[in-house]
C-alpha cells in the first residue's frame, strides 16, 4: 500500500463533516421511502408471471377450455384461409397483387415455367463448397467464369425462378415472371436456405462486429459506413460488452466517435465493468473528443 492508499487526515475530516451535517430525521425518512419502493417493486415483479396459479387453473380443467378455444380458432382460421383459395386458387398472398396489376390475357410462357424444373442447381452448388461467411464464390464452383465475383457467377447459369415448380397456373407464373427476384436476392435466399449458411449467420455477425470495432479503433470512416450499411448494429458489443463507440473513444478517434454517435451509438451504454463511453471520454479528457461526443460545446 502506497502512501496515497493510506487514510489521510483530510479524509477523516470529510467523513466527520458529513456525519455532522447528516440530518437523522431526513435519513430515516429516506430509508423508509427507499425500502418501501424496493419492497413494492419486488412485490410487483412476481405477479407478472405467477406460474403456480396457472398450474392451478390447468388442474381445475382450464386446459379443456383452452383446448376448446384453440380448436375453434383453428376452425375459424381455416374458414378464412380456405375460402379465398377456393375462389382464386392460383393467387397467393404475395403474388395476388402483382397478378391484379397485370391482368394481360396473354400468358407468358417460358420454357422454365412449362418444364417446371426442380430446384435451381446453381445456388446450392455455390453454397455447399465455400465457408459460409465467405461471399466470394470459389473458382471450382463455376469453372466457366473463375474470375468473377459471387453475385456475377450466380447469374451466369440463368436458373429458372425458384417458385415456378409450385405454380400450376399461368396467372401465377406470370406474376412470378413479372417480378423476378434480383440476383442478389436470389443468392441471399439460397444462402438463407442453406443449413451451412444458417449456422454461420451468428458467426458472420460476430465477424462484422469485430470489423466494426477495428474500424472504429482505427478511425476508418469508409469501413464504418460500409459495415453499418450492411446492417451491422452500431451498438453491437464484444465479449466484454464494449461497443464500437467505446473503441473509438479509447483510441481517441474523435471523427469515428462523432460518426458513430450521429448513427445512433449509445453514449451511455455500459460495458460489463459498468463503464460507458461517456465515462471513458471524461477520463481521457480530450477536448476534441469531448466536442465530438457533445460533452463540450
Amino acid at each position: 500500500m502506497s502512501d496515497h492508499d493510506a487514510p489521510d487526515p483530510i479524509d477523516k475530516a470529510y467523513t466527520q463533516a458529513e456525519a455532522m451535517l447528516d440530518d437523522e430525521a431526513a435519513r430515516a425518512a429516506r430509508r423508509a421511502r427507499v425500502l418501501g419502493a424496493v419492497a413494492g417493486d419486488v412485490q410487483a415483479a412476481p405477479s407478472v408471471s405467477a406460474p403456480p396459479r396457472r398450474r392451478v387453473s390447468w388442474a381445475a380443467g382450464g386446459w379443456l377450455a383452452a383446448a376448446s378455444v384453440a380448436g375453434v380458432s383453428v376452425l375459424v382460421a381455416l374458414q378464412f384461409t380456405r375460402a379465398p383459395l377456393m375462389r382464386e386458387p392460383p393467387a397467393r398472398a404475395e403474388t395476388s397483387i402483382v397478378a391484379d396489376q397485370a391482368p394481360a390475357p396473354t400468358p407468358v410462357t417460358t420454357p422454365a415455367a412449362d418444364k417446371s424444373p426442380p430446384a435451381p442447381p446453381a445456388a446450392p452448388q455455390q453454397w455447399k463448397s465455400p465457408p459460409a461467411d465467405v461471399a466470394v464464390a470459389p473458382p471450382l464452383a463455376f469453372p466457366a467464369s473463375p474470375g468473377k465475383a459471387a453475385s456475377e457467377t450466380v447469374t451466369a447459369p440463368a436458373p429458372p425462378p425458384p417458385a415456378a415448380p409450385q405454380a400450376p397456373n399461368a396467372g401465377n407464373v406470370q406474376a412470378l415472371i413479372i417480378t423476378p427476384p434480383p440476383t442478389e436476392a436470389r443468392a441471399e435466399s439460397a444462402r438463407a436456405e442453406s443449413p451451412t449458411a444458417q449456422a454461420a449467420a451468428p458467426a458472420s455477425l460476430a465477424v462484422q462486429t469485430a470489423r466494426l470495432h477495428a474500424a472504429a479503433a482505427a478511425g476508418r470512416l469508409a469501413e464504418l459506413t460500409s459495415l453499418l450499411a450492411q446492417g451491422t448494429p452500431v451498438d453491437a458489443p464484444d465479449s466484454e460488452g464494449e461497443t464500437a463507440l467505446m473503441k473509438a473513444v479509447q483510441a481517441n478517434r474523435p471523427a469515428a466517435a462523432d460518426f458513430l454517435v450521429r448513427h445512433g451509438a449509445n453514449l451511455d451504454r455500459a460495458n460489463r465493468a459498468g463503464v460507458s463511453a461517456r465515462d471513458m471520454a471524461i477520463s481521457i479528457n480530450d477536448p476534441q473528443l469531448n466536442r465530438a461526443l457533445g460533452l463540450e460545446p
Binding site: R33, V34, A39
Partner: protein, 193 residues
C-alpha cells in the same frame, strides 16, 4: 458500515433475491450514507434536489439486478457506486448538463501543505460545511474518487474499476483532490491556471 460484518454483502443480496425482506434493509443500512453522499457530492449544489430520487433509483436498480451481481468481479460497494455514478451521469445527460472534465494535471503545480489544516479536525458545523463545500468545488472526477475512497472505503483498484480508468489515474486524482482540499481549506487558491 454500521451493521454487523458477520454476513457478507453478497450473501445479503442473495437472501434478498430469495425473498428475505430484512436482508436488503441490512445491506441498505451498511451503504446508505456513503451512497447518498456520493450522489449528493457528485450532483453538487445546483442539482441537490435530485439526490433523493437518484438514491432511490440506485437502490431499486440494485434490487432488480441482484441476480446479476457477481462477487468474483467486484465488491458490492464497487458495484453499488458504479450504479450510483451512472444514475448521476444519466441525470446530467437528461438535464443536458455538460460535465466539465478535470484540467489536465492541474495539480502538478500544487504541493501538499505539510502542516495539517485546522479544518481537518471538524470543530463546528461551519467548519463541516466548509469542508463539504470544498469537496463539492473539486473537479467531478476528483470529487468522486475522494468520496469513494474516504467515505465509501473503496480501494484505489476498485475506484479505477468503477470509473473505468487506470489505477495510476485514480491514484493521481486522489492525490490532487487531497492537495486541492488542503489548499482550499487553508484559504489558498490553487496555483494552476
Amino acid at each position: 458500515m454500521e451493521d454487523d460484518d458477520a454476513v457478507d454483502d453478497a450473501d445479503l443480496l442473495r437472501a434478498h433475491g430469495a425473498g428475505d425482506q430484512h436482508a436488503f434493509a441490512r445491506l441498505y443500512d451498511r451503504y446508505d450514507r456513503a451512497c447518498f453522499h456520493l450522489i449528493r457530492r457528485l450532483l453538487g449544489g445546483a442539482h441537490a434536489d435530485a439526490a433523493e430520487d437518484l438514491h432511490q433509483e440506485t437502490w431499486i436498480a440494485v434490487s432488480r439486478n441482484a441476480a446479476g451481481f457477481d462477487p468474483a468481479r467486484a465488491s458490492f460497494a464497487a458495484w453499488l457506486f458504479t450504479i450510483a455514478r451512472h444514475k448521476t451521469f444519466d441525470h446530467f445527460r437528461r438535464q443536458r448538463v455538460t460535465v466539465l472534465a478535470t484540467a489536465p494535471e492541474e495539480a502538478a503545480t500544487m504541493t501538499p501543505d505539510p502542516q495539517p489544516s485546522p479544518l481537518e479536525q471538524v470543530q463546528s458545523r461551519q467548519g463541516a460545511e466548509e469542508i463539504v463545500a470544498a469537496v463539492e468545488a473539486l473537479p467531478i472526477e476528483q470529487r468522486g474518487v475522494f468520496v469513494m475512497f474516504s467515505e465509501g472505503e473503496l480501494s484505489l483498484e476498485e475506484i479505477a474499476q468503477v470509473t473505468g480508468v487506470a489505477f495510476e489515474t485514480a491514484k493521481s486524482r486522489l492525490r490532487y483532490a487531497r492537495a486541492r482540499l488542503r489548499q482550499s481549506l487553508a484559504g489558498e487558491r490553487p496555483t494552476h491556471v
